[in-house]
Structures are given as C-alpha cells and as structure tokens.
C-alpha cells in the first residue's frame, strides 16, 4: 500500500506542475480568440484563484506522498 501511495505521489506532483502551463495556454488561446470582458473575468478567476490552489496543494501533497509522509496515517 505504501508503494502505491508513493507512486501516486509522483502523479499528483506531475498533475500539479502540469496544470500551470495548461491553464495559462488555454486562457491565452481563448482570450486571443475572443477578448471579451466575460472571457477576461472567467480566466482571471481561474488563474488567480483556482489554479494556484490546485497547483500548490497537489505539488505539496504529491511531494509529501512521494517522501512516504502518508505511509502511516493516524
């Protein structure tokens, strides 16, 4: 079980890192295609609020899991 937890830790870390360029590129693409106020507000919320939370929490969590910090959970 511990090995699975650690392997998944790598997955969470990759997901956390990967989401940053993915979201930014998508935002740039969509805003360039249609630079409406609605688009700006939507992507601002995603980039300023949602993305940092997801990226930070997944990366930190993934690193902890990878290091075996969650091998034993109380």
């Amino acid at each position: 079980m511990s090995a699975i937890k650690r392997i998944f830790g790598l997955l969470w870390t990759i997901m956390g890192v990967g989401i940053i360029p993915l979201v930014i590129m998508q935002a740039m693409k969509e805003i360039a295609a249609k630079p409406s106020e609605e688009n700006w507000i939507f992507w601002s919320i995603v980039i300023v609020v949602l993305m940092p939370i997801i990226a930070f929490s997944l990366i930190t969590f993934g690193i902890f899991a990878l290091k075996g910090e969650y091998d034993v959970i109380a």
Partner: protein, 524 residues
Amino acid sequence: MAQNVTNVSHTEEVSSTRRVIAASSVGTLIEWYDFYIFGTLAKIISEQFFPKDNPTAALLATLATFAAGFVIRPFGALFFGRLGDLIGRKYTFLVTLVIMGGSTFAIGLVPGYKTIGFFAPAIVFILRLLQGLALGGEYGGAATYVAEHSPEGKRGFWTSFIQTTATLGLFLALGVILTVRQMLGVETFTDWGWRIPFILSALLVGVSIFIRMRMSESPLFAKMKKEGKTSANPLAESFKQKDNLKMVLIALLGATAGQGVVWYTGQFYALSFLQNACNIEFVQSNIIISIALLIGTPFFIVFGALSDKIGRKYIMMAGMLIAVIAYRPIYTIMYNDANLKTKEVIEDKTVNKMKYEVKGTDSLITSVTTKLYTDGTSFKETVKHKFPVDPALKAALPKDKLKPETKKEVTLPQALYYKMIGLVLIQVIFVTMVYGPIAAFLVEIFPTRIRYTSMSLPYHIGNGVFGGLVPLISTRLVEATRPAADLPPADPLAGLWYPILIAGVSFVIGSLYISNKTNNLDVE
C-alpha cells in the same frame, strides 16, 4: 437512590446536549440565511445598487458575487479560526454572528444608486465582503464547539445537525422572501419590500445571540486554556508545521474539494440545469428542488450517525464514487424527460397569440405560443420584440439591441414531475453522504489547540472555491460545446465534467490516504 441520581444526570446531559446543538445550529442557520438572501435577491439588488450602464458598479457586482463567495471565505476562516484558537470558540462564533447579522441588516438600509450614487454599490460591496468573512469564521466555530461537547462515539450524530443548516438556511431564505413577496405584491416587493428579509435578520440574529450568550465555553478548550496549553500562533502551527499541513492537504484534496462539488451540484447546479437546459418553468423547478431537499435533509443526520458506527471515510468516499458514476446517467434522464424533440405534439391544441402595444417611445410585440404534448407536457414560448416607434431611431440601433427576447417554459405532467423530484433527491442523498459526516471528520484529524484554524481553511476552500465555482465552470463547459451563438449546445451535460473530475480525484486521494479510524479529541 443511585438509580435516581443516574437518571437525573442523564436527563441533564440530554438537555445540555440539546442546548448546545440548538444554540450552535440556529446561529449557523441564520448565517446561511443571511448569506443566501443576497444571492436569491441578486437580480433586485443588482437593479438597486449595481446599474449595468455604470461599468464600475457592474464590476463591483461581479466581484461581490464571486469575491464574497470564495475569495473572502477562506480569509474569514483564517482570521476567525486563529481568534477561536486563541481566545475561545464561544466568543469567536458570537462575533461572526454579530458581523453577519449587522452586515445583512445594514444592506437592508443602504439607500439605492439613484439616491447616493456610487456610494451605494461601494457600501453594499463592503458589506457583502463582511458577510463572506463572517461565514468563513462561523462554520468552523460551530462544528468545533459542538464536536468538543460531544461524547465519544456520537460526534458524527451531533455535528450532523450543523450540517443540515446550510440546506435549512436556504429554505428559510426562500420561505421569507416568497412570503414577503406574496404579502406585498411583486411591485412593492421590487420597490422596497426586498429590504424586509435583510432587516428581519437583525431580529433572528438577536435571538441567536441571546441563546449563544448563555452557553459556556467548549469544555476541551476551557480545560486547555486552564492548563496553559493553547497555541501562541495557530496560523504558524497549522500551516508551517509539516505534520499538520499534511492533514490540511488531505482534508482539502481527499475530502472537502470532492464534497464541495457534490454539494453544489446537488443543491444548486441541479436547479440551474432544470431551468436553463430543460427549460422547466420557474415555480415547478423550484418546487422540485425544494421537495427533494426537504425529503433529503434528514439524511444528513442519518449518515452523520452512521459514520459513528462504520467510519467517516467509507460513507464520504461511497458518496463521491456513486456521484461520479451516476451524474451523467441521472442528468441524461432529466434532460430526455424534458426534451420536447422526443415528444409528440397534439396539433389542434397549439395556440398562438400576438399582442402589439406602445410603451412610451417603444413598440412592443409579444408573441405567445402554447403547445400540449401527448404525455401531458405543456410548453409555452414567449417572444418579446421591443424597438423604437421612430423608424430612424430603430435603424440607428445595433442589431443585438433589436434581438427579440425569448422565454421557453416547459411544465411537466405529474408522473414526470415526481420522477424529476426522485432524480434530484438521489443527488441530495449523495450530498448528505459526503456532507453529513464531514464536520466530525475534520475536527477529529486536528488537535484541539489549532482545530478551529486548521479545519476552517480546507472546509472553505473546498466548499467556497471548488464548490462555489461549479456554476461558473460548468456553464462555461456547456457553452464551449455550442457550435454557434444562436444554436443550442452540442452537449448540454458537458458541465458535469468539472464536478466529476474533482470528485473523482478527491475519491482516489481520500480512498488511498485517509484513515477510516475515528479519532478521539484530546487537549494534547
């Protein structure tokens, strides 16, 4: 004699239990009521304070909607959580109640944009932020307070009463608004009557403060304070110490993020889907949701109590997994049942009516078409075309200003109406599975000295951010499947991918890393 003493002691304990649950739940319910009336009356508030022709006011309206919903709540969690771990639970969640009630009451008194101009949206915006801040501090306090009074083995049951308040608060808000509107009439309500639900909050909060003032401090916190074991810096201990940060991350990613999206999908997205994707008539769609919520609400307590027996994790994870698997089939049935393309129209029951009238300098053509289908479904389409009487002015207007306004309303026959209630109820059951045990789960994974701070943040990020963004992101995902602006979306169910993805990830993380063991609360 000994038997009598035991009975008296038991009776006192039960009475004390009820007081603790009542004092905490009533206050939290009122805070949810305060928070929801702003959202429910958003359209009227927008007209009164945030005129669309003023870009700054319009921007403030958007910020007020989003900022108070998810940016400010985690800050409230940090601010009041810290306070609760430093000075105590009782006084802190008393303060949040006063701030929430005071802000709500004040919103009801702020003069409109027409009277004081830009100050109106600015003041309302600040008051709305205060509401978000107070809400961020309230839940953690109430859950911690009740949990720290709970006997071992009954914490899930006790705290589940706090979990019902978010749903009951919505009921109270809708009930008060509909009653006042009914009593005053739509016109008076839109003019000034909408202020009554806000002003009424002062009375509700007053009662709740009176009840809470009479309560004693949480026994665990009082003991810890007496022994000098309280945290000197709850924020640093919560988020800088690895052992605790680990649990904050698990709570967020493995529980509250998934719980937040399941909650929002079952309670809010379902209504939006019925009204916008299925075009179900306004009153019927609201009744469908209300009945499903009413029947489903006791299950918060059922699953809270069950989590004391079989563990919090199993119930929460089961709720997330079933939701992930079942959402698309459930919504497919909902969509198909209201889809007129699959129904047979009774041709001789189709009625078209058209009305032409002049309102001031504008002409208004209203066209109403009603249809009846063989299964008993009825459909009404109202098209309103407004344009200036003066042809020169009409010619000068851009095309989008001349676009007719179309409203489609589907009214389901009784059998489909009950079926729809059942389908929403299933989603509410998912909500109760993930939400019922979560307060007990959160309080048990953090130590008493930093519990308020540590549990409040993941709860409000999970619910406020991950859950709060369901309407915005889901709408966006559906819109992305629309081939052209005037064509319907290719996949009206595309909005479900967001809750499915978040709940799916949360399920995997929760299943792998969360323990099903129920922990005791201590002061160490």
